[in-house]
Chain length 97, copies 2
Amino acid sequence: MIRHIVLLTWSEEATDDQKAAVADGLAALPAVIPQLRRYDLGTDLGLAAGNSDFAVVAEFDSVADYEVYRDHPVHQAVIAEHIKPILAARAALQVEL
Amino acid sequence: MIRHIVLLTWSEEATDDQKAAVADGLAALPAVIPQLRRYDLGTDLGLAAGNSDFAVVAEFDSVADYEVYRDHPVHQAVIAEHIKPILAARAALQVEL
């Protein structure tokens, strides 16, 4: 099993509506990307200063399935239309579970 | 359920032994911190440039249990002795699962 983890930090100017549009856009992906075995989205709880703002944790049966997700046009559209415009920082990796 | 996610990036000078010592030190924590409901450690698979190097994904029943882990002396010792000396960057957050 492959786990893909992304931590995103929003820009100061990002509005609540823009942040919600990211979550909504990503939440629609499991319906169109069957390779997603598990898909957890979450907003930071504010327990520590300097935290990232949003987490995506996606799980796949294989690297090939992860790459389908990574390159999927609907996913790429969410990135281009909703994430990039308000993105200040991104940390990511893929690990074997 | 609370999920604590940390993505760590090592310094250029970090040796494989130093990286292994981090994994070993963290892997010993579930035995001394019963509040850990799930504890996944992983090294990046190298599928994308610019990725972080190491992931810690820990799950707890409550924020209070997460704070026990966060402040636990054995955990703090791993951070001070093994992580900080080779740390280049850190991204983290806590989300509700």
